[in-house]
Structure formats: C-alpha cells, structure tokens
C-alpha cells in the first residue's frame, strides 16, 4: 500500500480545508453512527467531516468540567475537543450535524448547542428503524437538513448532484468492502489496523481522492498475500463494538502483540457503513433515507435490533472463519453492555469464545485489557493446537 500518498493527503488536509474555508466553502462536521448522509453535504459543494477522533484520555478527562463521568469516553471526548482546541477539525466546522443516536451523543449535541459556539442541526433518527412512519419522519428530517445546508452554503442541492454523490460514496463503500473481503483469505492481505486506518481516513479525506486511492490499494492487494505465512496460524478474531475512534488503536496493538489477528470488525465507523450501498436509481433523498436507516445494520440502541445484529455477526464469524470474538465496549455504554450478555450467551451456545473488554480510554483499563487479551489468545491457541 502506498501509505505515503494517503499520509501526505491527511497531513495536508486541515490546511487544505482552511484554505477552502477562506474561499467560502463550508465545512460541515457530523457525529458518527452512520446516520448522517455525507452525500447531501457533498452535493451542496460543502465538505463533510466525521468527528471520530479519539481514544486518548486527555480529551475525555477535559470534558468532566461540563459533563458527569457517566457518559462514555468517546462522547466526553467530543466535548473535550471543544475545550482543548488542539484538534484543527473541531475548530473549523461551520455547522455540526448531530444525529439523534445514542443517549450519550444526543446529549453531547445538546451541550454543544447550549454552549452556543457552533451552529447545530439535530438530525432526528427514530429508533424504531423498521417502521414506515419512522422512515417518513427520517426522510422529512433529511429534507430539512438539505434546506439547512442550502441556506448555509447558498447552493441549491439538485437531485442530480445528490445522485452523483451517492454514486461516488457507493464506489468508496464498495472498495472498502472489497478490500475487507480480501481478509477472508488466510493468510490475509491486509492487517486490521491498516484496514481500519483506511476506513477512518475515508471520513476525513477528499472522497474523490479516497476512491482513487482505495482503487489502487485494491489493485495492489488483490490476489496477493502480504502478511507473512506464520500469520495463518494466528487465531482469527472478530472485533465488535459501538465505535472505534480514529486513534483508539491500542486495543488492536494489544491483540496483535498477543498473537491474535483481527480479520473483521463490526463497528460503527466500519462495516456498518461500507457493507451496504445506497440505491442509485430512485429519488435520491428517499434512497438515502431508506439506505441509512433501514438497510444498514442497526446500531445496538435501535429498538429490537439484537436479533438482526447477532445474526449478522454470526454470518461474519462463518464467512471470515473466526475462531474468537473480542467485544470492545466503552465504559458507561448501556446498550452495548446489555447486549454483550446476549452475544456471550449465543456465542457460548455455538462454542465460539468471546472476551468482553471495556475501555475508558485510560492507561488503567489498557493494562487490565492486556492481561485478559493475552490469556484469551493463549486459550484460543491452545484450542487450535
């Protein structure tokens, strides 16, 4: 993989965006969870940036002056970044689109709104994702977002432009999916950390650049085993969790160091985004609404999502020849904590070992994690032998 090309692009990206901002181009940030259609933003000639940075303790701790500790560290970090003002992306946005996802991120949006430092649009995401009334509601709110962005940018968002954006973003999703599917092979062609970095880059990079880059990566990787042959003997793992922030890579490093190999991830900023594409031939706004709320794998906070989610996970376990599951949840995340019980039970019935880990982005939790990951992978290796 030509890492340098991507690294340079990402390094230059904040300056490039600031330059574009000076020229009047609007930068629109949004919170993760995969319920904000970037296509609408892009179609308006604005630049979508998903605020998924984190994994460090500093920003999560800084937030404690504005929010009690009982919010998950990722959410707290989104407040912390506003306080610390060290991350350029957080300071440059002209509008924050805050989808009403879990209770934590919903509250973070409310706090940003209360502090009144940036314009906020709350995108209603009904949690009964399967209902027709709810789909209609979400569609209506996407249209309202369209209006908001038009007013901000001064550009009319034509259906034609939205359709073009859908095609562009679908290409990106398809390429990510194709690259991810290469990991079904053993030995695999790309490590988890490299794949996740690619995936995360797609939330910051220029989408045209990213599609071109992913295309070249796929070309390079297909049919080629890049990882050493001894990788084939390592336990193949699936990582499941609410989100893995850009920078929260310690978990992957610990797994790798312990001799494990993550071959597939079920996380918000990952498979839940790239696995499904948006329908291209119908009314683009309806297509986006249906695609984002209905067709994508629902998050754990969605009502009655457990069955669908666990079935999907089991299919991935089978398709990617997974021998163990690592469940990586964030401290205070009630939905994932609750669901871990069901997954553990189900995996147990199928004799698929599962390890539940919890992070508060602090050194203490990583120390504890290391011991548990080492033991888990040792156990899996014993099973292989």
């Amino acid at each position: 993989m030509d890492d340098e090309r991507l690294t340079t692009h990402l390094k230059d990206r904040p300056d490039q965006l600031m330059e574009l901002k000076k020229q009047g181009i609007k930068i629109i940030g949004y919170f993760p969870g995969n319920y904000v259609p970037e296509e609408i933003i892009y179609a308006a000639g604005a630049i979508p940036i998903c605020l998924i940075d984190n994994g460090g303790a500093d920003s999560a701790e800084a937030a404690l002056e504005l929010i009690p500790h009982i919010s998950c560290p990722f959410s707290r970090a989104q407040i912390g970044e506003r306080i610390l003002k060290t991350n350029p992306y957080y300071g440059m946005i002209d509008l924050l689109v805050a989808p009403i996802t879990c209770q934590h991120l919903k509250k973070i949006a409310e706090i940003w709104d209360y502090l009144d430092e940036v314009d906020i649009f709350k995108l209603g995401v009904p949690h009964q994702y399967y209902g027709e009334d709810e789909l209609e509601y979400y569609t209506h709110r996407i249209r309202a977002l369209q209006g908001k962005i038009e007013a901000l940018t001064g550009n009319r968002i034509a259906n034609e432009n939205v359709s073009k954006a859908i095609i562009l973003y679908n290409r990106m999703r398809n390429l990510l999916k194709k690259i991810s599917l290469l990991r079904r092979a053993s030995p695999q062609t790309v490590s988890a950390i490299n794949f996740i970095r690619l995936n995360h880059a797609s939330y910051y990079a220029d989408p045209v650049f990213m599609v071109d880059y992913l295309d070249s990566v796929y070309e390079e990787l297909s049919g080629k085993a890049l990882v050493s042959a001894d990788e084939a003997t390592k336990p193949r793992l699936m990582l499941i969790g609410p989100n893995l922030a850009k920078g929260d890579y310690k978990i992957l490093e610990l797994i790798t160091a312990a001799g494990g190999n993550v071959v597939i991830e079920e996380i918000c900023e990952g498979i839940r985004d790239y696995w499904q594409t948006i329908e291209e031939k119908t009314d683009p706004i309806s297509s986006l609404a249906r695609g984002y709320i209905r067709d994508k794998l629902p998050c754990a906070f969605m009502r009655y999502s457990s069955q669908k989610r666990i079935n999907f996970a089991l299919k991935m376990v089978q398709d990617f020849s997974v021998s163990g599951v690592i469940w990586y949840q964030l401290l205070y995340c009630e939905s994932y904590d609750t669901e871990s019980y069901l997954y553990n039970r189900k995996m147990g019935e199928l004799n698929i070992p599962m390890l539940i880990l919890e992070s508060d982005y602090d050194e203490g939790s990583y120390q504890q994690m290391k011991t548990r990951i080492d033991a888990f992978i040792e156990m899996l290796k014993g099973g292989i032998e």
Partner: protein, 463 residues
C-alpha cells in the same frame, strides 16, 4: 402482621378478606416476622403515620401489591405491564373497564413503595437483575429497569402476556424489552418518538408529538389484538377525565407544601403521593386515591394553619433536581433531621419557566394527551430544562439546590454540570451535586450524606 396492616390504614372489617391475601403475598416474596417489625419501625420513623391520608396511601399500595402478585391466582387471564411507558396505564385502565379478565399495574410503583420504602428489602430484587444483563458496577444501569427484571426472575410477579415500554426518555428500558423477548421469550412492545426536540416552542415540536401519537396508536392496536377489546378515543378520554381530580388535588398539595414555611410535612412523603397515580390501573381505585390525597391535603392544610413545623421555620429552603427517591426515604428524612427544608423536587416542571402544569390548549386527540410527558423538564434539552429549573427556584425563593442526578437515567443526568453552573450564575446560591440512584437504596451512605448536607446547610446559611 395485623398491627402493621392497621398502621397502614386497614380497617378491622377488611382483614377477613385481605389478611389471607397479604400473608400469601408476603410468603411468596419472602417477607418474614423480622421484616414486619422493621417495617413498623421504618413507617413510624420516616412517615407521619398519625396522618390519616398517609395511612390511606400505604393502604392502597399494599392492597395494590396483593392484586398484582396474586393476579394469575385470582383468575386474571391477560396481564399487561408498562415499563417506563407513560400512557400504557391509561390504556390498560380503559381495557380493564371492559373485561375483568384483564389486569395491568405498574410493578415498580408497588415494589418501590412497599418492599422499598416500607420494608427496606429491595436489594434481593436488584441483585437478581444484576445476575443477568443489567450488571452492577460502574455502568450504572437504571434500578427502575432492574426492578422489573429482578421481579420476573424471582417470580414475584406473574409473567405478563405483554410488556410495553417506550423510548421517550431512555434507551435502557427498550433495550431490556428487547432482552426480555430474546432471552426469556416474554412478548414486548415498544412505542417511541424521535428526540430531536428543541423546546416547547420549536416549530418542529408538532412532528415529534405526531410521531409519538402514531406510535402510541400502534401500541393500542397491539393491545386490542391481545385482549380482543377495542380501545376507542372516548374510552381514553373517560379514563383521563376520571384521573383529573387526582391531578388537581395532588398539585394543590404540592403547591401548599412548596410555599409553606415552616415545612408542614417531611419530604419523605413527596414520593408516596406523587407515585400513587398510575400505580394501579383499576379504575375502582381512583376514587380511593383521590380520597387519600384529599385527606392528606386537608391534614397538611390544618398543620399549616396551626404553624406546625416538620422542619423549623426559617430553615434553608432547598429544591432538588430529579424526582425524590422512589424506594428509600432515608435521604429525604436526613435532610429534614438536619434542618434543611426540602420543599420541592423536579417532578413535572414545564418550560419555559418551570410551572407545575402546562399552559397550553387541551389536545383534541387523546393520544396526544398521553404524550404530555414529552413536554416536561426532564425530557427537554438543557436549553429548555435549565430555565424551567431556574424559574421555579426563583418563585419558591430557594436558598440552595440539591443537584442530584440519577446516574441510570443518562439523558437528564448528563445535564448536571450545566445545571450547576447556570444556577450559580443566575441565582448565586449554593448547589450541591450528588451522583445518585433514584430507585436503588444501596446508594444511601448515611455518614457521607450527613457530612455533605451539614456543610451544604452551613454554606446556605452564610450565603
């Protein structure tokens, strides 16, 4: 046992019928002689049992508990529970007027008040839930939700034919409904809206209510399918109308207490009269509920007239965020004992300035009336909630705010720091933060609370 029941307002003539029922219930849920002695002590310590209204309230809770626990044994064929689901009680009441085979109640209200407040024995129920998906520890799952899981796990309440929940306030209750269905095969139903609500005056408000109404109508259809009884709009209106006197008298009582100095009754009583409505769905209980609150109101009014002081006149007046503890009177009692007048809690305050009732047109759709909770402060964003808290504090001439946040209820709890700084800035009065659990008596820490409340009182005095 008879002594306890009489203390709780049971008349001799009732005991022939009620005593065997209640004994059966207490046997089932593990209440023994020691517990009964402790209950008598707790009642006499924490509540004004000389007040007839208080006795009547506890009478209704104990009898309702028996109705709930014995529902199947006594021939009820369809049992429905609501879990954090405003409106289900009203629909269930409407159904129960049409069929005596249908039973519905709010289990948490009965167990919190009887097993929690009276007996102080809720811990085994919560621990039972913690053995499943609502683990103990830092995660702080809501003990209200734990109670349902624990009660079902222990077999203290009959398995329902349908458990209804909603996502108006949280994700925890709907997620537990999902688990109950997946893990234990209990049929559940969830209704919802979308919480991108801004304030009461946002033009978008209508859409949120409309979505909630549609979802609630879906729930009504589900109830009709289950019971075979049609739910008409008129049936809903009838139940709402029947409950209106309760709303009026409890508001009068609340206002009387909040504006009195000296405080005429300990704040331990707040929860027992707030929570009586909606505990039982039996319409026959409504006149008795109204009578109990009315009696209490008259007695409290008499105390006010006589200058009776539950807490000394001139004591610092405190407002508490979040509703009072549902299952443990000790924190409220301690405040009184230390000479702090806890005059009101955030139990249904409405933006923009924290009124106890909504100043808006009565809805034409009864299902819209059932969505009224969405307007109250704890369901609002900080932008709407905080001014309502400040407005109410101003009107009550509050000296300090106990900023307690029910950690299990993330959405309102996460406002805590903003509330603190806004009150300090706008009112310049002391604020005491308290990381807390509204339904779990295990959080009570006498030594710690005593210290912080003493310091709080001193700060208020010197402010």
């Amino acid at each position: 046992m008879i002594e306890l029941l009489k203390l709780c307002g049971f008349e001799t003539y009732e005991l022939d019928l009620q005593l065997p029922r209640i004994e059966k219930v207490f046997n089932k849920i593990g209440i023994n002689g020691v517990d009964i002695e402790r209950a008598k002590q707790r009642l006499n310590t924490y509540y004004d049992m000389e007040l007839k209204g208080v006795r009547k309230i506890f009478h209704l809770y104990i009898r309702g508990l028996a109705d709930l626990v014995l529902a199947r044994d006594e021939g009820k064929e369809i049992i429905i529970y609501g879990l954090m689901s405003p409106g289900v009680d009203i629909m269930s009441s409407a159904l129960m007027t049409k069929s005596d085979k249908i039973f519905s109640a709010n289990p948490q209200r009965f167990f919190s008040n009887v097993i929690g407040n009276i007996f102080g024995k809720l811990e085994p129920v919560l621990k039972a839930a913690e053995r499943h998906w609502l683990k103990a520890g830092a995660i702080s799952h809501c003990a209200n939700v734990k109670m349902y899981v624990g009660l079902l796990d222990l077999g203290f309440i009959p398995k329902p034919d349908l458990l209804v929940t909603c996502g108006f306030l949280c994700d925890t209750a709907p997620k537990t409904a999902d688990m109950l269905q997946e893990v234990w095969g209990i049929t559940t139903h969830c209704y919802d809206t979308c919480k991108d609500i801004e304030t009461m005056n946002d033009p978008h408000e209508r859409e949120i209510i409309t979505l909630g109404v549609k979802s609630m109508r879906g729930m009504a259809e589900r109830l009709q399918d289950l019971t075979g009884v049609e739910i008409t709009d008129n049936m809903i209106w009838d139940v709402l109308k029947a409950g209106r006197p309760y709303g009026e008298i409890s508001l009068k009582l609340d206002t009387l207490i909040a504006h009195s100095d000296p405080l005429p009754i300990s704040s331990t009583h707040h929860t027992i009269f707030y929570r009586l409505a909606g505990s039982s769905c039996d319409m026959n209980a409504v006149p008795q509920q109204v009578d109990a609150i009315n009696t209490l109101y008259e007695e409290v009014q008499e105390r006010v007239d006589k200058g009776f002081a539950a807490v000394e006149k001139g004591a610092p007046r405190v407002f508490c965020t979040a509703p009072p503890s549902e299952s443990d009177p000790r924190l409220e009692h301690l405040m009184g004992e230390l000479g702090i007048a806890n005059v009101a809690s955030e139990n249904r305050l409405y933006p923009p300035d924290g009124s106890r009732s909504m100043d808006r047109e009565r809805p034409k759709d009864p299902f819209e009336a059932l969505c009224s909770n969405l307007y109250s402060s704890m369901y609002q964003t900080p932008k709407a909630r905080i001014p309502s808290l400040i407005g109410y504090c101003k009107r009550l001439k509050i000296d300090g705010v106990l900023n307690r946040y029910h950690a299990g209820c993330r959405s309102p709890a996460l406002d805590a720091m903003l509330i603190r700084s806004a009150i300090k800035k706008e009112l310049n009065i002391p604020v005491l933060d308290l990381d807390w659990e509204n339904f779990d008596p295990r959080v009570y820490n006498e030594e710690h609370y005593r210290k912080i409340f003493e310091a709080f009182k001193l700060t208020m005095r010197s402010a």
